[in-house]
Amino acid sequence: MIDLSMLEWARAQFAMTAIFHFFFVPFTLGMSFIVAFFETIYVKTGKKEWKEITQFWQLIFGINFAIGLSTGIIHEFEFGTNWSTYSWVVGDLFGAPLAVEGIVAFFMEATFAAIAFFGWKRVSPKVHLAASWLLAIGSNLSALWILIANGFMQHPSTDFGTFNIDTARLEMTNFFALITQPVAQVKFLHTISASYTLAALFVLGISSLYLLRGKHVDFAKKSATVAAAFGLIASIFTAVIGDEHAYEVANTQPTKIASAEGLIVGERGAPIVAIGIPKDLDPTKVTSNDEAFVFKIELPKMLSLLGKRDPNAFVPGLKDLVEGNPEYGIWPFKKLHDEGAKAIEALKSYHVAKANGNTAGMEKAKEEFYKVVADVDGVKVTRADLIGYGYLTNAKDLYPPVSPMFYSFHIMVALGFWFILLFALAYASIIKGAFENNKLVQKLAVISVPLPWIATSFGWMTAEVGRQPWTVFGILPTVHSVTPIALTNIQATFFMFLTAFVILGIAELKILFTVVKHGPKGAH
């Protein structure tokens, strides 16, 4: 029997590592390209001031790089330490992208980082520039493989994996389908473009700070120009691909999108609640969406349009997903659970028969296990595909909590639009040659520097809290993924790492502020 408090601590520890890790990752992803842009201009023009700009931003990049890399290794190994059952059951599908990441991305990143940081006087300018670009590409390739692994957790399609009754594991059947899965691709593009936005806003904000103080003016103007252009493109792309991402989620993880939108009762022409305060109610006791909010401002038909590409399409709410909706072919939780329970029973029978050498019993159990129970648009759904539902005992376990989902998703989206507006204002001002004196936009940029970190953290909360109660959506519940271990062990390591993260995080910020305060002249 799993100790639930132990499960919550294991989740908390993992979430803490993920959040701390992701403070630094997007900065690395975006900053590596910005530094490469600056250096390209330097190599093309040969002007010394561009070299100074490159080296200053590279120094800031370097301060973040080490801590991002080091927290990544904890994350990788915590899959084993905290989620040992998960690691065994899905190791083929999840471990493979991690191994490929190591081979094709991490080494590229680490190897060329050495030239980029320490090779200014040791290699030619062109070799150095190539190293800076390869460092940026390596960092971003690393994100690609991680998000392929994460995409599998979000939508474990039968296109690339199947449940093997013999090994009781989910195994890979098509590597190409795994790496080209649409969920992972849009997730990757959304993540990296958000990361570029974050880094660009940091550069714009710090440059604005210098302009407001009348310091390093030429440096700041040049930096801001590149950052505003890059940030505008990145922020618009983040929104566009974010829409595509939401579309994928709406069609693969209906409980996630329903929770994030606070949609309890499914409807045709479903609206988006732009602003609202949701109530956390039992969906089975709600008869109308109006009951589910303290107040709300809606955009009519937008959820149907964005989620289904049809303003009049039906979008299921949590009530439909729990109670079922025959009109739209949605099964109730009970039916999903019953079929999943039959799959678990068949799996057990198979292994008992196997242990006894009962070939006929094995065949019978196998037939039951892989029995096709539904046909959704030509895709055959077997009991094996529903095995995870057999482990859920309560309908309330089927969906993630509404309030945290609603707020995190909506804050992320609102901030995303704010970034587009801010970059548009800054870019327009720069084009007109008025940015140096546009104190309002400069102040807005400075104030906005922390906001992308909030947006990206909420984005990940939406993705990962929204995946609950599963580690692998629909297949493996979180409660059955955890390492069986005494609670005190996790508590002890939780505080051990928390202490380290707090100290190192504060040190990182303090060093960063010191470097920024000092400015680009002789920053090293």
């Binding site: 080296q55 590279q58 370097g62 301060i63 080490a66 801590i67 890399l69 080091s70 990544g72 290794i73 904890i74 990788e76 190994f77 915590e78 084993g80 040992s84 059952t85 690691s87 065994w88 190791g91 083929d92 471990g95 493979a96 991690l98 191994a99 490929v100 990441e101 190591g102 081979i103 991490f106 080494f107 680490a110 190897t111 980082a113 050495a114 090779g119 200014w120 006087k121 040791r122 290699v123 070799v127 090994t167 009781a168 594991r169 195994e171 890979m172 059947t173 590597f175 390492t483 069986p484 271990i485 062990n489 390591t493 790492f497 380290a500 190192l504 040190a507 990182e508 060093i511 470097v515």
Partner: protein, 397 residues
């Protein structure tokens, strides 16, 4: 012909062997790369700020590669042998958590140590580097020791749900018992930990001798040569204990067709002589290279000892892992329940996954080639000088 659990056919078996060899190569490379950790325990050799900065910058340009090798080692184990990832990381929880902790502290220390505003002072970061160099390496060595002495776990054969600490005569400290439970081979694990630490320290000293300028760091280099000689004595003592263990310990043998695990006296010696004694030859070649490097830079004035000793370490490391996992040997044995022991067959990924990953592994030589190219590019400008450390463009730590 039937196969041990989860091995579907001969091709699957050969893929499992192939992947264990890849793991062994990565393990060997990681052992070589621990010269960074070994070097981190040598800051006290420096008597001036500038000498210390020289050591910091020499190692600081390589720590990421050690880190990346460890990440790849973990990733490859995850993909190829997921049950090991599950059992060892989830089971020997404290060992891995402490290793991770040591590595997190290390990574930031290079960047933060000499920066203004680093909050806790440069001494704290230097302590972190020592902590990583000693605790991280000794624990890693002890963890390798358990590949031969076994661990305290069982699991359900169908669900593979892990139970740690089930041996009636064992101690359960979630992995840390490997260092204190002498009835289950703690002496061997500790000797392996000390051996790996001594190797890392010798490699670290050899690396610094190679990478620091002879004139600018002449005093440090002389002291490093003395360190190599002293560490070599520690290494010899630890090596004798480890070799005694390998010859006398009962090994965890298994039948590759039925999967049944049994204890076999002299198993690891038999493994050394298996495959036409190829492993013995490679092992001896590794030892000879290792000693040549030590003689070159520890006892003579050459700067090149790191290359022979480094290559020797890789070869010895490969053999340590192949001894543990090939020739019908359970590489992660359980002394609580022999039949719960992990073999390359019962813990591996599917045939399809291993095949796909085998194709991807073809890119490894290409990766190694560009790493060598980058090292060459960085090295050809000469060793690290004091003038370079004072240059604001050198990104000196």
């Amino acid at each position: 012909m039937s196969w041990a659990p989860f091995t579907t056919d001969a091709t699957h078996f050969y893929l499992q062997v192939y992947w264990w060899i890849i793991i062994a190569v990565l393990g060997g490379l990681f052992l070589f790369m621990t010269f960074v950790q070994g070097g981190q325990t040598l800051f006290h050799v420096a008597k001036t700020e500038k000498e210390q900065q020289g050591i910091l910058n020499s190692l600081g340009r390589k720590w990421e590669l050690t880190f990346t090798t460890l990440v790849l080692f973990g990733g490859a184990l995850y993909a190829a042998f997921p049950l090991f990832y599950s059992v060892s990381f989830g089971g020997a929880y404290w060992v891995w958590m402490l290793i991770l902790f040591a590595f997190v502290l290390q990574a930031v220390s290079y960047e933060y140590m000499n920066r203004k505003g680093n909050l806790i002072g440069s001494g704290a970061y230097k302590f972190f580097l020592y902590f990583n160099g000693i605790v991280g390496v000794v624990l890693f060595g002890a963890a390798i020791g358990t590949f031969f002495t076994g661990s305290n776990f069982t699991f359900d054969s169908a669900t593979k749900i892990l139970e740690w600490g089930t041996a009636k005569d064992g101690i359960n400290l979630r992995g840390l018992e490997a260092a204190i439970d002498f009835t289950h081979g703690a002496w061997f694990n500790l000797a392996m930990g000390i051996l790996v630490f001594a190797v890392a320290r010798i490699l670290g000293a050899l690396w610094l001798i190679n990478d620091l300028d002879d004139n600018d760091f002449a005093d440090v280099i002389n002291r490093l040569r003395a360190i190599i000689r002293r560490c070599f004595i520690v290494l010899l003592v630890a090596l004798v204990v480890v070799l005694y263990g390998l010859v006398t310990l009962k090994g965890y043998a298994y039948d590759i067709h039925t999967g049944k695990v049994t204890l076999e006296p002299g198993k690891y010696l038999h493994n050394l002589l298996a495959f036409g004694a190829a492993q013995l030859i490679v092992f001896l070649l590794g030892v000879v290279l290792f000693v040549i490097g030590v003689l070159q830079s520890g006892f003579k004035n050459s700067k090149k000892g790191i290359w022979a000793t480094g290559l020797g370490t890789v070869l010895i490391g490969i053999i340590v892992f192949t001894l543990a996992g090939l020739n019908g040997t359970a590489y992660y044995p359980s002394y609580a329940d022999l039949q719960s022991s992990l073999t390359i067959q019962n813990s591996s990924g599917s045939k399809y996954t291993l095949a796909v990953m085998a194709w991807i592994s073809v890119s490894v030589p290409f990766v190694l080639a560009y790493i060598v190219y980058v090292w060459y590019q960085m090295k050809k400008a000469g060793p690290i000088t004091k003038a370079e450390l004072e240059d604001p463009e050198s990104h000196a730590y």
